[in-house]
């Protein structure tokens, strides 16, 4: 059966970028305000899911050739590394530190190692959510 989904496809092409922007905003907002790696990961995943719904699997896979299991694994590795690194400097596990840096154009911002942890969380969420959704929708071909 062929569905006429021209409108959906056209809209999605724009909306995906809006969703991705929100994801990035949420990711950076999470330091002191609501947001963070987990939510950003979910929003990111929803963008990818939208692509999968409006286009067929092969097209998306061509544009986004990722094994989401590996994405999740990279995420967990990053999060763990950000926890283990302070141990090498004699600090307790998961100790986070931050510094203020003057950026051109956007002014002074705080860079924190918790960002690495959050990035790990975000990647893990994307990887896990996508693996679950894809394996449910695809059936058993691994």
């Amino acid at each position: 059966m062929k569905i006429n989904d021209l409108i959906l496809r056209t809209v999605v092409q724009f909306v995906v970028f809006i969703v991705l922007t929100i994801a990035i905003y949420l990711f950076f907002a999470g330091h002191y305000t609501p947001g963070g790696g987990f939510v950003a990961g979910l929003v990111l995943a929803s963008a990818v899911v939208m692509l999968y719904i409006s286009f067929d699997t092969d097209t998306v896979r061509k544009g986004l050739p990722l094994d989401f299991k590996i994405v999740a694994a990279i995420g967990v590795t990053l999060a763990l590394l950000s926890g283990i690194l302070p141990m090498l400097f004699g600090q307790p596990f998961l100790k986070m530190s931050s510094m203020n840096i003057q950026f051109p154009l956007i002014g002074e911002k705080t860079l924190a190692t918790v960002m690495i942890f959050e990035l790990g969380v975000a990647l893990t969420v994307v990887g896990v959510v996508m693996t679950i959704i894809l394996s449910i929708s695809e059936g058993s071909d691994d």
Partner: protein, 492 residues
């Protein structure tokens, strides 16, 4: 602050994640799993000695002081169990290298086992009730996958039961956490203990304590064990061995921590209930071991009996009985792993699961046959082996308390355990040999090595009990004097 005590949690998890990148390279997976677990054993021995010398070791994650952050607390009780866990996992994995097929190994079996070990270790070490929940979930999620690996009708049917019952228990756990946070305003175990003591465990708190008892009883197989025999029957041998040896122990550990540290005040209600549940568990378990002919079923009911027996130690709640319980837990981890491996090997050799159809294995496998004999004696608690000391100490504690019915049933269960295995021994191991072409003629060396090592360990733990006793006494001292634990966490 001691960063080492987080290693039993993150090392296996970290390596598990690394292994995902090496899905197709089985050799690398095996080497990494082997060396990780070996390293864990070394770290744990070092930590255990450190705990003995320097007292309880505490780590506050991220430098957030207790009760605000998450604390990891390594006392002798936790460390003894963590050490035994790593030994059991190490030996079971050596068995797994030669018995799991390639299909298993490519389906992430090693990463999952490591994740499960990480979760188990985390549950033993954590000093925060919510973190305990998280570590439980890490362990359970890995076990959900491990139990279903391999597929098949029976396996999937039993794993659905396993998943559903554990999800339900986890939900109760979460409700209990909400209630305890609502009433006491903290989730740090030491802080909880302090506050419960301040407000004098009233009826509301006792009710919450009973809710936790239900949760942990479900996980430990204390009275609420209806899911256990089915679920532990279906996984492949080395995985079933780890399930039987380790998973129920986490629930038992949680009950011990809960009712010695946080809720020790209303012993008339909580500890009596635990005692009644333990006795009922032993009785039902005894019916189970006598009633079934399926080897796997007999083994699973053996797990249940020992759960009941260990908790009699908490029921008596004296220093001796707690020492006995700690010792018995260690013994039980080793011997249950050996029992599961041996039964799995019998099924591997013969392809049959009912002991009626198996005869005279000892003629072909003398070493295996005698090892089974030693294992049987150790399980029943015959003196030079490790089962004896734990049973003796728990018995002493029960006599001090005057719980003669409990002690009678407890020791009668040893006889029944002996009977249940003697039946298998006389029929399947001893007895006339029947030649059957379908039977395998050799046990691979790498399957025999871990089993013999387990056999030696139970002997060493029994004969060398003097070496372990100071650590066990240290563990029981903290269990009977919760203020040592509280001070170590809150006033470092």
């Amino acid at each position: 602050m001691n960063n080492l005590i987080v290693l039993p949690l993150i090392l296996p998890i970290f390596i598990a994640v690394i292994l995902i990148f090496f899905r197709q390279q089985i050799r690398i997976q095996r080497i990494l799993t082997f060396s990780t677990l070996l390293l864990l054993i070394i770290v744990n021995i070092y930590l255990l000695i450190q705990v003995k010398v320097n007292g309880i070791q505490v780590l506050q994650f991220g430098g957030w002081e207790a009760p605000f952050g998450i604390s990891f607390v390594a006392d002798a009780f936790a460390m003894l169990l963590v050490l035994t866990t790593s030994i059991v996992a190490f030996l079971c994995m050596i068995y797994a290298f030669s018995s799991l097929g390639e299909t298993f190994e490519k389906m992430f079996v090693y990463p999952l086992v490591l994740l499960m070990i990480g979760g188990i270790n985390g549950s033993f070490l954590t000093g925060d009730l919510f973190n305990l929940f998280v570590c439980f979930e890490v362990m359970l999620l890995a076990s959900y996958v491990l139990i279903t690996l391999g597929g098949g009708k029976e396996r999937l049917r039993e794993s659905i039961k396993y998943v559903v019952i554990n999800v339900l228990a986890s939900w109760f756990f979460l409700v209990g956490l909400a209630m305890i946070y609502g009433t006491l305003g903290t989730l740090n175990m030491a802080h909880l203990a302090q506050r419960v003591a301040e407000v004098n465990q009233g009826p509301l708190l006792t009710t919450i304590a009973l809710l936790f008892l239900v949760v942990f009883a479900l996980k430990a197989g204390l009275l609420l064990f209806f899911w256990l025999p089915g679920s532990y029957r279906v996984p492949t041998t080395p995985i079933a061995a780890m399930f039987g040896a380790l998973l129920t122990k986490v629930g038992i550990y949680a009950i011990f921590r809960m009712f010695t540290l946080i809720f020790p005040l209303e012993t008339n209600i909580t500890h009596t209930l635990i005692g009644v549940m333990a006795i009922a568990t032993i009785i039902f378990g005894c019916f189970g071991v006598m009633g079934f002919k399926d080897l796997r079923q007999i083994v699973a009911y053996n797990v249940i009996i020992s759960v009941g027996f260990v908790l009699l130690g908490l029921y008596a709640n004296t220093t001796e009985s707690l020492e006995g319980a700690v010792f018995y837990l260690m013994h039980d981890m080793l011997i249950k792993a050996l029992l599961f491996l041996m039964i799995g090997t019998i099924i591997y050799i013969t392809g049959r699961t009912s002991f009626d159809e198996i005869k005279g294995l000892i003629h072909q496998f003398p070493l295996f046959g005698w090892l089974f004999f030693i294992m049987m004696l150790s399980l029943a608690g015959i003196p030079p082996l490790s089962g004896f000391i734990g049973k003796l100490l728990i018995g002493q504690g029960l006599i001090d308390k005057g719980a003669y019915i409990a002690i009678g049933i407890g020791f009668l269960s040893s006889v029944i355990v002996l009977y249940s295995l003697l039946r298998i021994f006389l029929k399947s191991i001893f007895g006339e040999a029947t030649y059957n072409q379908k039977f395998k003629t050799k046990i691979p060396k790498m399957m025999l090595v871990p089993m013999v090592t387990f056999g030696l360990l139970t002997l060493v733990l029994g004969v060398g009990a003097e070496i372990m006793m100071p650590y066990v006494e240290d563990a029981a001292r903290v269990l009977t004097n919760p203020e040592i634990y509280i001070n170590a966490v809150l006033n470092p």
